[in-house]
Every structure is written in structure tokens, then in C-alpha cells.
């Protein structure tokens, strides 16, 4: 079955081609059938592959030789193993649900754009599948840039709006900054090892010096920073909410942004061997988690809150990777995919109902109008807040426990972040669903529950969010119940061997879980009571709140520190250096010739006397030159 893995990306590719080329001739229903159908097919194959891997272990499928250069060769090959098959399931599964959801959500679009939307979406899935399936870093990079491209296309989907286009461009450029790091790492690997195929790289990792490993891992991590929106390259992700909401759910929550985690998990052995990089990953992840959480506290756009929450949750995943909890990180990717996709889709449902109103200050009391959305949204909030036994609890707990064992400060800070998460999620929940409606009458009149193609994915995802955590029950509850860890064990085996694991005692764990759960519940209660009445809805913020509302002014900082100087530099180059200096020199030669010409013309005075005078003088000079090595000069001196 693994041999047929190429079908997994092939179906979306076919979908892309059909929808892309036929977007003008196909009907909307046809387009959505094709779009969803290929995803379903892909999902089915993925399932088969998954079980095949589970039964028979990993394989590599080589399709053809991509680049065969002088010093190296890079095959176009797929790595089918536990990690990639798991990601296949997440991508195609959630991907399918979101395609389904989109068919309803995007129904207002014109046919042509509807087709374009599905084509992009299929292309995205194709790229994402390449990213996770690739058997070497180059194929991964193809997917890596491919998803960036699709993200760009989808953020700028409503291309008439220039704001959206800027957001799309920003996303792409920031991703590219990271990609450069990734690419440099690839070059480094090729330079040192002559190969980028995972198997060869990981087995020959001992040939690399520790400096090489550190450099490569840091460069790779730069790539991850861009793709997974970590400090300092995170600012694109909140702006990326300009895209249609299902896109945010799929790309900017569930799949693409987790590519960085996948990559590091894939390269776990390299990271394990470099303590410096691991620490860097952990600290960056933690910092991002806290930083994004603080910003999320004061956001009023429903999607922006979710976006910062995503950034924050990605930070947790990196924390997990940084402390060696690779399984935990992947686990969190999975659960996060469930509940964050659910949250986004729920938000989409709300926005749909509110006629594209995204400001939570203008919502409220939607509970009674949209019961399914409400329930599923609440479940997702509980999951992300980390209330047991929802899925988020298990994955977050696993990461935090590992963080504690690595460094207790990580834990405390991480816990702070978790509390903030609980706070802003329930602020969001309360403002949206509780209290009374604050929107216009028009909106109030039209409030309705979304159609079933939208609610079915919500329900499915809610189920997954609630029960998804049970694949990774920690040892403290039941020994050997962490089936995910068992499944992924071959991937992280080498790393785990190297890592010096010191486990916490069960009692410690119980205490920590209890305390944190209690604190979270407290925060939730506080948030719900505080925002049920929507107390601070129209407050003018001052001090720290204002700073938070303005996202720590990071965008402005980047603007002054990087963008503006760069623009000034390019203006200087264009208007001064290029025009006046470089071209000036070139034209100057021409002008000099012209000037010389005008001056030399004057020599030709028209007077015969002058002509002859010059001739005589030159004759004298020539004689002097000719005999200058002889004694004529001395003689002339004597004469005077």
C-alpha cells in the first residue's frame, strides 16, 4: 500500500488542475464535488497508508531522480513512516472537512472565483503533502515554499482589497526570510555530507562537527520561525487572517504553520545533538507563547484572537521540541489541529452569520441563535484551555511536564501562558456567545445557524477535540496507554537514547496537574463573569493595555528599523547612486568627449599663421624630446 503513497498528493494535484483549468466552465457544485472528492480520496489512501505503516513499518518510495548534479543527487522520493503518515492523516482529514465546510462558506462567490478558491486549496494540500512526504530536505523545501505560495494566493484571495494583498505579500516575504535560512542549511548539509536524504543524513550525523550541527539546526530553525510564526517572524500570521476563514483554519492553524514543528521533529536527531539549538528553540518557543498570549488578551477581532492564540500554541510546541518532548510536540500539533480548526470554523460560522462582521465587541448572545456552533466552540475553548479530559489538556500537559524536567522556569512561564490562554479564550467566548447581542438590527434579524455542510465538520472536529487526547494518555494515569508515543517511537528512538530523561515522580505530576487545572478553572470563571456583561467593550485603553492592543508596536518597530531604511536605501540607490554616480560616470565620459570636442575645435582657428606657429613649436619640442638624453639641454643651459 505504501507504494501507492504518490496517490495522496496526486489527487489534490488533479483537483487543482481540473478546478484551475475548468474554473470558468464548471458549475459550483461540480467544483465542490471535485474539490472535496479528491480530498476524500486522498484521505482514504492516507488511512490505508497509515495502517500499512502501522503494520509493516516505514519505507521510502522513489519516484524519479530530481536533480543529479556533479556532487550530489537528489531523488524525488517520498518517506512513508510513522511521522509522515500521521501528518498525512491530519492534513487530508482536516483538509477534507475544511473543503467540505468551504463549499458552503464560499457559496456566495462567483463561479470563476469559487473554482479558483478550490484550486488554490487543492494546490495547498498538494504542497503540504509534498512537504511531509518528501524523503529529503529538498523535496521538503519544495513543499515548504509551495505552501508559502498557496498561503500567499489564499490570503490575497480577495485581491481587490489592497489591504489583503499587502498581508499576502507580507506573509510570503516573511516566509521567504525563513526559507533562506532553510536553504542555507540545505546547502550546508550538501556541502558537508553531499546528501540531503533523511536516512543518509541521520545515519551520518556523526561525521558533522558540533559547530556544523549547531549552525545547520539554527538555520533550519530560522526556516521554522518563518513558517511557524515564531518571534521575530510571527507578524505575518495575524495579518494572514485577511484570507477566507476556512483558509485560516486549514493553513494558518492546522497544517502549514505546523510545518516547522514537523521539520524539527523530523530532524530531531540533529537537534538533540546540539544543546545550543535546543535551548534556542525552547526559549524562542516559550517567549513566543507568552508574548503572543499577551497580545491576544486585548484583541477584538475574533480571528486575530485566534491567530495570536495559534502563534502562542505554536510556541508551546517549540517549547516541547526544545526540551526534547518530540512526541509531545507532535501530539500537540495533532490536538491543536483539531481544536484550532474547530475554533476557526466556528468563528467562520459566526462571521457567516454576522455578515462578515469580525469585531467581538459587536457580537454577544449568539448562544441561542447558533446552538451547534456555540456548543462546539465551547468544547474547543475548553480543549485549548487545557481542562481535563479534553484533548488539549493531555498534549499541553505533556509539554509542560517535559519543560519542568528540563528547567522549572520553563514550566512556570509556560503555565502563565496557559492561564492567559484560558483567559482570552473565554473572554472571546463570553463576548461572542454570552450576554446580549450588540450588533445592528439588520444583523440581529439575519442571525441563523449555519447549514449542515458547515456544522458537520464542526461536529466531527468537536468530537476529535474532546476525545483526541486519549491517544496520548500520560503514564501517570495508565502505564503504556500513550499509544502515540509507541507509534512514533521509531522516529525518535535515536534522540531518546541520547536524551537523559529524568522523569518526575507521579505525585509531583499529580500536584502540578491539580494546581494548574484549578488555576485555569479559576481564570475561566473570572473571565466569564467579567465579560458576560461585556464591561470593557468601549473603554479607551491606556498604559499597558494600549500597548497590548497595539501588539507591542512590533509592526511599527519593524517598519522603522527594517522597512523604512531599506526603502530609503533603495531610493538613494535609484535616484542618486544609479542616476548621478554610476550612470553619471558613463555619461560623463561622453560629456567629456563632447566638451573636449568643443574645446579642440577652437585650435582650428582658421589662421594660417597660427597653424604654422604650432608646427614650428612642435618641431622645437620634438627636437628637445629627441635629444633629451643627450647634451643639448646642458648646452642650452650654458647658453643662457
Amino acid at each position: 500500500m505504501s507504494k501507492l503513497v504518490y496517490l495522496v498528493p496526486l489527487f489534490p494535484l488533479i483537483g487543482f488542475l481540473i478546478n484551475g483549468l475548468g474554473r470558468k466552465s464548471l458549475s459550483k457544485s461540480m467544483i465542490s464535488i471535485i474539490g472535496c472528492g479528491v480530498m476524500l480520496a486522498s484521505f482514504v489512501v492516507s488511512l490505508l497508508v497509515f495502517f500499512d505503516v502501522k503494520a509493516n513499518g516505514a519505507t521510502t518510495v522513489e519516484l524519479f531522480s530530481f536533480i543529479r548534479a556533479a556532487d550530489f543527487q537528489i531523488p524525488f522520493a517520498f518517506q512513508v513512516d510513522q511521522l509522515s503518515s500521521l501528518f498525512l492523516l491530519i492534513i487530508t482529514g482536516i483538509g477534507f472537512l475544511i473543503h467540505l465546510y468551504s463549499a458552503a462558506y464560499m457559496h456566495e462567490e462567483e463561479e470563476q472565483h469559487f473554482g479558483r478558491y478550490f484550486a488554490y486549496l487543492n494546490l495547498f494540500v498538494f504542497s503540504m503533502l509534498l512537504l511531509v512526504l518528501g524523503a529529503n530536505y529538498v523535496i521538503m523545501f519544495i513543499g515548504w515554499e509551495g505552501v508559502g505560495l498557496c498561503s500567499y494566493l489564499l490570503i490575497g484571495y480577495w485581491f481587490k482589497n489592497d489591504q489583503y494583498n499587502y498581508a499576502a505579500k507580507k506573509a510570503f516575504v516573511m516566509n521567504r526570510i525563513g526559507d533562506l535560512g532553510f536553504l542555507l542549511a540545505v546547502f550546508w548539509l550538501l556541502f558537508k555530507l553531499g546528501t540531503v536524504t533523511y536516512g543518509d543524513v541521520f545515519s551520518r550525523v556523526s561525521e558533522l562537527s558540533s559547530f556544523d550541527i549547531t549552525a545547520i539546526t539554527i538555520l533550519l530553525f530560522v526556516g521554522a520561525m518563518g513558517k511557524s510564526a515564531q518571534i521575530p517572524l510571527y507578524t505575518w500570521l495575524p495579518d494572514a487572517m485577511a484570507g477566507p476563514t476556512p483558509v485560516s483554519a486549514l493553513i494558518h492553524a492546522a497544517t502549514m504553520v505546523t510545518a516547522g514543528i514537523y521539520m524539527i521533529a523530523r530532524s530531531n536527531i540533529l537537534y538533540t545533538m546540539s544543546h545550543v539549538s535546543q535551548t534556542l528553540v525552547a526559549i524562542t518557543g516559550l517567549a513566543t507563547a507568552i508574548f503572543a498570549a499577551t497580545i491576544a488578551l486585548k484583541q477584538n477581532d475574533i480571528k486575530k484572537v485566534l491567530a495570536y492564540s495559534t502563534v502562542s500554541q505554536l510556541g508551546y510546541m517549540f517549547l516541547g521540541l526544545g526540551v526534547g518532548a518530540y512526541t509531545g510536540a507532535v501530539f500537540h500539533v495533532m490536538t491543536h489541529a483539531f481544536f484550532k480548526a474547530l475554533l476557526f470554523l466556528g468563528a467562520g460560522s459566526v462571521i457567516h452569520a454576522m455578515h462578515h462582521e469580525q469585531d467581538i465587541r459587536k457580537m454577544g448572545g449568539l448562544k441561542k441563535h447558533m446552538p451547534i456552533t456555540h456548543i462546539t466552540f465551547l468544547l474547543a475553548c475548553l480543549a485549548i484551555a487545557g481542562i481535563p479530559p479534553f484533548s488539549g489538556f493531555f498534549s499541553k500537559d505533556e509539554i509542560l511536564m517535559a519543560a519542568y524536567s528540563a528547567n522549572p522556569i520553563y514550566y512556570y512561564v509556560g503555565l502563565g501562558g496557559a492561564l492567559m490562554t484560558a483567559f482570552y479564550m473565554f473572554r472571546l467566548y463570553s463576548l461572542t456567545f454570552l450576554g446580549s447581542f450588540r450588533g445592528t438590527h439588520e444583523q440581529a434579524h439575519h442571525l441563523h445557524e449555519s447549514p449542515s455542510p458547515m456544522t458537520i465538520p464542526l461536529i466531527v472536529l468537536a468530537v476529535l477535540s474532546v476525545f483526541g487526547g486519549f491517544v496520548g494518555i500520560p503514564e501517570v494515569f495508565a502505564s503504556d496507554a500513550h499509544s502515540l508515543e509507541h507509534f512514533l517511537a521509531p522516529i525518535f528512538a535515536e534522540s531518546n537514547k541520547l536524551a537523559h530523561a529524568h522523569h518526575l515522580t507521579h505525585s509531583q505530576e499529580y500536584i502540578m496537574m491539580g494546581v494548574s487545572t484549578a488555576l485555569i478553572i479559576g481564570v475561566i470563571v473570572f473571565a466569564v463573569t467579567k465579560f458576560k456583561k461585556a464591561a470593557d467593550v468601549n473603554d479607551e485603553h491606556t498604559g499597558i493595555a494600549k500597548v497590548l492592543e497595539n501588539k507591542w508596536y512590533v509592526d511599527e518597530l519593524y517598519d522603522t528599523v527594517i522597512v523604512k531604511p531599506l526603502h530609503l536605501l533603495s531610493v538613494f540607490f535609484k535616484n542618486i547612486l544609479e542616476k548621478n554616480i554610476i550612470d553619471g560616470v558613463v555619461n560623463g565620459v561622453g560629456k567629456l568627449v563632447g566638451y573636449g570636442s568643443r574645446q579642440l575645435r577652437l585650435l582650428q582657428s582658421g589662421q594660417v599663421g597660427n597653424y604654422i606657429l604650432v608646427m614650428v613649436m612642435v618641431m622645437v619640442i620634438f627636437v628637445l624630446i629627441w635629444f633629451n638624453d643627450l647634451t643639448i639641454m646642458n648646452f642650452l643651459k650654458k647658453l643662457f
Binding site: 606657429l613 635629444f627 643639448i632
Partner: protein, 167 residues
Amino acid sequence: MSITQIMFFFLSALAVFSAIMVLVSRNPVHSVLWLIAVFFAISGHYILLNAQFLAIVNLIVYAGAIMVLFLFVIMLMNLNKESEPNKHIWMKLAGAISGGCFLMVMVSLVRQAADFQGKEALVGTGDIGLIKNLGKALFSNYVVPFEISSVLFLSAMVGAVVIGKKE
């Protein structure tokens, strides 16, 4: 100082003086006359050098024919008065200085030429300048250039006709 030396210096002084007078005379007719004086002095030198043929030819052709032609032209144009406007003084100065420099450089060049030290031009003796010897050489070794110079005269003749003829 022998008579030839005295003659040499006298003729030289005459030649140089007359030549200078050619330039400084304001009246073109005077210039012509002074130039004729130069030619006479040079002819005197030829005689000193025993080049009688050239001395005669010089007088006949130059002083006689060419200078008369000049005079004719000057008369024809009615230039026999001091009509020439002065050249700019700086131009004159520059001309004189560069001419002087030329002289100076050339003289110093000759002064340095060691291979002329002690060489003499035969004065009074030597019969190569006699018409008999010259004629013999002219019509034997130099007959080709002699004939060819007819082409020169032909073209000069044609030229004078072309240019002088009234249209």
C-alpha cells in the same frame, strides 16, 4: 684673415641683414628688393664655393625671373605702399620667439654634432660646380628626374592657366 674669409663674412652679413630687412620692410616692393639682395649675396657664396653654374642660375632664375614676377604681381595689385595692417603684437612676438627657438635648437644640435668638427667646405677649388661637369651628370645619371620635372612644369602650366583664366 684671408680674402675668402673676409668675403665670406661680408656676404654672410649682407645676406642676413638683407633677409632681416625683407621682414621688417613695410613696403612690399622694398621687401622684394631686399630679397634680391639676399639672392645676390647667396650667389656670391656660390661663387666662393666655386659653384659658378648655380650662382648664375640663381641670379637668372630667382633674382631675374621669379622676383620680377613677384614685382609684377605686387604692381598689379597696387600694393606698393605700406598698406599691410599690423599683426597682433603677441602673434609677432610668438612668431619671433618660436623662430628663434628653432634657430637655437638647431644651432645647438649642430654644435653638438661631433662629426662635423674640423670638416671644411672646399672654397675656391673643386670643379664639380662647373657647368660641364654638372651637365654631364644631369644628362646621364639624372636624366630621369630631369624628364620627370617636365611633368611638374606641365602641371604648373595647366594650373596657372586653369586658375588664371577668366571664366
